[in-house]
């Protein structure tokens, strides 16, 4: 094929894709067979490291979230490939059901838990939503990037609201079955996760990989999901209709929250 003998893959530790990373072995094997190259997979648990590796040609293709892609295209030479569309991908703001917060505007003067810096659904998009709602992030409310502790913080009412991935709402209820929660805002349709190739990778190869993935999309997704974990991704599928414009909202969001991607 037009691709090098080994293709190096990495992921950026994107929210909600952990199961997939774990199951990457079968996917890699299946894809390698289809593409005709050996697939080497590096589970990179930090987006900075993964983006950096791609910039310096230490990896050929990474699976990135929208936030990472927006950053990468601003900083370095990358090629867009196919994407993955997931159900329940977006941001939601959750509060306790008995709270008197009903809209984002009610968050004025409150404490809000977010996820970790740079996370699409846990930082960039929720911040953008707050700004859109007319709040000044520095003056009108307190946001905390709490990562793993965001659930506990909300459950214990240390914060008044949590802005995080839509799937976190279900998790929250799982964690605190007695509690009652209410979603006060949800993001619109989000850009999708995307495979990104390094700038220097042969375009023919990129096209070839795209082709092979789309040709075999069903069975490759099966390979990712594997038997047991299946239900969580029933609605995930490969897509090849991504456009640069789709990610402009993220770039804009970065601008609005005061972290311009120049």
């Amino acid at each position: 094929g037009p691709c090098p003998d080994t293709l190096r893959f990495a992921d950026t530790g994107i929210e909600g894709m952990e199961e997939m990373v774990r199951a990457f072995g079968p996917f890699g094997d299946a894809l390698g067979e289809a593409v005709g190259s050996e697939i080497e997979f590096f589970p990179v648990s930090d987006r900075t490291a993964a983006v950096n590796a791609l910039q310096f040609d230490q990896v050929d293709i990474i699976l990135a979230g929208p936030s990472e892609y927006a950053v990468m295209r601003a900083r370095q030479d990358v090629q867009m490939m196919v994407g993955i569309e997931r159900a329940e991908y977006g941001t939601a703001f959750v509060v306790h059901a008995d709270s008197d917060i009903h809209s984002l505007d009610d968050l004025r003067g409150k404490e809000v838990a977010l996820k970790d810096p740079g996370s699409t659904t846990g930082h960039i998009v929720p911040s953008w939503m707050l700004v859109e709602a007319g709040l000044d992030l520095d003056r009108d409310l307190n946001t905390h990037l709490l990562d793993g502790a965001r659930f506990e913080a909300l459950i214990n009412r240390d914060v008044d609201a949590m802005g995080s991935g839509v799937r976190d709402v279900a998790r929250l209820k799982e964690r605190d079955p007695e509690g009652a929660y209410r979603v006060i805002a949800e993001s619109d349709t989000m850009p999708r996760d995307i495979f990104v190739a390094r700038g220097g990778l042969d375009e023919a190869c990129v096209a070839h990989v795209n082709e092979q993935i789309m040709a075999d999309a069903e069975s490759l997704m099966d390979a990712i999901l594997g038997p047991g974990e299946r239900d969580k991704y029933t609605e995930a599928r490969f897509v090849n209709d991504l456009t640069e414009a789709e990610f402009d909202m993220i770039t804009e969001a970065y601008d609005l929250v005061g972290l311009p991607l120049d």
Binding site: R47, T48, V51, N52, F56, Q58, V71, R75, E111, A113, D116, P117, G118, H144, L145, L146, D147, G148, A149, E152, A153, N156, D158, V159, L259
Partner: protein, 268 residues
């Protein structure tokens, strides 16, 4: 050589004593792991040479350091030092008795020693993130949870190193004190602590430095501090800001090291 010579020469210990079973097990085990690890590293020179060329480009992204946020960074640093000092102080205070229970020469008995070593090992093994979660649940977001997490971390580290040092001090002075009929505690404070003072101070001050360096945990519990600044800068690919933050931390780390060696000079 005379016969006397030969008789005497026969007393010389052999050059090589065959290692004990224990040594063999350790050696073979180490070799096995080491070789596997080494092979996995897969060192290819060509790749490295190319890579080192890239480093220039990489560092160029961080240079010059961006000092525009120096004031909030300094403020975050200060907060971190405050919390670290409180956490480490309590951690050290708790570590000392635990270390005494862990040391073969001060522990009341083998079981207590074993148990306290287990506890210390556990405190050390539980990751910071888990401590953060536990204390967020227990006491809520904020500095208190961070300080508690630092305390746990400090105990795991300090108790282990204190106990190691306590085991190494020369037994003479403590024997002398205990042969005056004094109690365990008096011997400990009269001989063992003074003898290991230099090391205890240095380890404790290293503890502060360590707490500052791993200040991310403070961010996880919503206590802010320099760790959040750094991880945000890194995650946002603002390497120039990150460099500034690292330099600020470096200044503080070196400061604590200077204090540490100044104190040691006086005690040693």
């Amino acid at each position: 050589m005379s016969t006397v010579d030969q008789r005497v020469a026969a007393l010389a210990p052999p050059r090589f004593t065959s290692p004990s079973v224990f040594s063999w097990v350790i050696l073979v085990g180490f070799a096995a792991f080491f070789i596997q690890g080494f092979l996995s590293a897969d060192v290819t020179l060509a790749r490295m040479v190319q890579g080192f060329g890239n480093l220039g480009t990489f560092f160029a992204q961080a240079w010059p350091p961006d000092t525009s946020r120096l004031t909030p960074i300094a403020k975050a640093m200060l907060e971190t030092v405050n919390m670290a000092l409180v956490g480490v102080t309590f951690g050290v205070i708790l570590s000392l008795p635990i270390a005494l229970l862990c040391s073969s020469n001060t522990s009341p008995n083998g079981f207590v020693r074993w148990l306290s070593r287990m506890v210390v090992a556990t405190l050390r093994t539980v990751p910071e993130l888990v401590w953060a979660l536990i204390f967020v649940v227990a006491v809520g977001l904020g500095p208190l949870a961070g300080i508690l997490a630092i305390i746990m971390d400090t105990i795991g580290f300090c108790a282990r190193f204190f106990s190691e040092r306590i085991e190494e001090i020369s037994p003479g002075p403590s024997e002398a004190l205990s042969s005056t009929g004094s109690g365990r505690l008096s011997v400990i404070f009269g001989a063992i602590i003074p003898e290991s003072m230099a090391s205890l101070t240095a380890t404790s001050l290293y503890g502060v430095e360590k707490a500052i360096r791993s200040a991310v945990v403070l961010g996880l519990v919503g206590a802010g501090g320099i760790g959040v600044e750094l991880s945000t800068a890194m995650r946002m690919f603002r390497y120039d800001q990150a460099l500034t933050i690292i330099l600020v931390i470096l200044v503080v780390v070196i400061g604590f090291e200077q204090v540490s060696s100044a104190i040691r000079r006086r005690v040693l």
